[in-house]
Symmetry: C2
Subunit: 171 residues, 2 copies
C-alpha cells in the first residue's frame, strides 16, 4: 500500500462535492504545462459538464488522508477498427511533492482495470513532447507512441464559421 507522510493512499471516484478540488488540480496541471492562461473552466461549468444531465467525462481522485494528491480525468473514445470503446485519459496529474512514490502508476492502473471491465480495446493519452519525465514513465509501462499520427484542431470562431457555412449550404 502506498503511503506518504504515513497517510494511506485512497483513489476514489469523484462526485459533485469534489468540483472545487478538481478545478484546483486542473489549474495546477495547467501551470505545470505552462498553459495556465488557457484555463477558463469554473466550478459552475464543471458541475454542469461533469455531473449534470449529460456527463462528458469521469474523474478519479487520489487522496493522501484528507489531502488531494492528484487526479485522472477520462472519457470514452471509440475505435471503428475494433468496434469497441476505448478510454482516453485527458489529464493525469500528481502534485510535485508526491511524485515518485507510485501515485501516477496507481491512477493509471485503476484506469486500466476500468478499461478491462468495460471491454475497452485501447487506453490512450497525449503527452507534450518536451515532458521527458512523463514520457519515460509511459514507455516503462509499455505504451507505444503513435508517431505516425498528428491531431488537427478547430476551435471557437473557426467552428462557428464552418458550421454557419454548412447550414447556409455555402459549400
Amino acid at each position: 500500500m502506498i503511503r506518504t507522510n504515513n497517510e494511506p493512499l485512497r483513489i476514489v471516484t469523484a462526485t459533485k462535492a469534489d468540483v472545487p478540488v478538481i478545478l484546483s488540480l486542473i489549474r495546477e496541471l495547467a501551470e505545470y504545462e505552462r498553459l495556465a492562461h488557457e484555463v477558463v473552466a469554473t466550478e459552475e461549468i464543471l458541475e454542469e459538464t461533469l455531473f449534470g444531465d449529460r456527463r462528458y467525462a469521469e474523474v478519479l481522485l487520489a487522496y493522501l488522508g484528507d489531502a488531494p494528491a492528484g487526479y485522472a480525468l477520462f472519457f470514452h473514445s471509440f475505435s471503428t477498427f475494433l468496434g469497441r470503446p476505448g478510454i482516453y485519459l485527458e489529464d493525469l496529474y500528481v502534485k510535485p511533492q508526491h511524485r515518485g512514490c507510485g501515485i501516477g502508476t496507481k491512477l493509471l492502473g485503476r484506469l486500466a482495470k476500468l478499461a478491462s471491465d468495460r471491454m475497452c480495446g485501447r487506453l490512450e493519452w497525449a503527452v507534450l513532447n518536451w515532458n521527458e519525465p512523463s514520457i519515460g514513465f509511459y514507455k516503462s509501462l509499455g505504451a507505444r507512441p503513435m508517431n505516425e499520427w498528428t491531431v488537427y484542431r478547430l476551435t471557437g470562431d473557426q467552428i462557428g464559421r464552418l458550421g454557419a457555412a454548412a447550414q447556409a449550404d455555402k459549400f
Copy 2:
C-alpha cells in the same frame, strides 16, 4: 447543393439499420489507410456499441441518392481547461470516386454545426502524417496541427496486465 451523377447529396444521422453500410465503409477506410488487417469489428459488435444501451459514438452518413458515399464517426471528448466537451472525429471517409466535390467539407461542416449547437469548444481529429491530400484539405479549413503533442497507447494484454497489477495492489 452538391450533386454527383445528378444525385442530390443527403447527410443523415445513422440508425441501427445502417450498421451494414457503416461496417462496409469502415473496411474501405481501413484499406485506404493500409490498415485493413486491423479491422475486427462485426455488425453484431457495432449494433451493441453504437446503438445499444450505451452509445459510444455517433455516425453521420452521406448518401448520393440511395448509394452511400461516405461517413463521419465521432464521439465527445472533454477539455479540462475549457470545462466543456469537444467533438473528436474518429473517422472521416469519402469514397474515392466521389472525392473532390465537397462531400468531406459538407460532413465536417455538419459536425461543426453540431459542435456549436452542443457548446463544444473543440473539433479535433488525427491524420496519418503521409496523407498529404487530407492535410492540405484540413489546413484550408484553418485547422491547426497539434505538433507539440504525441499520443501514447496501451492495448489488449498491456491493459490487462496493468489492471491486474493495480487490483492486486502490486505497485
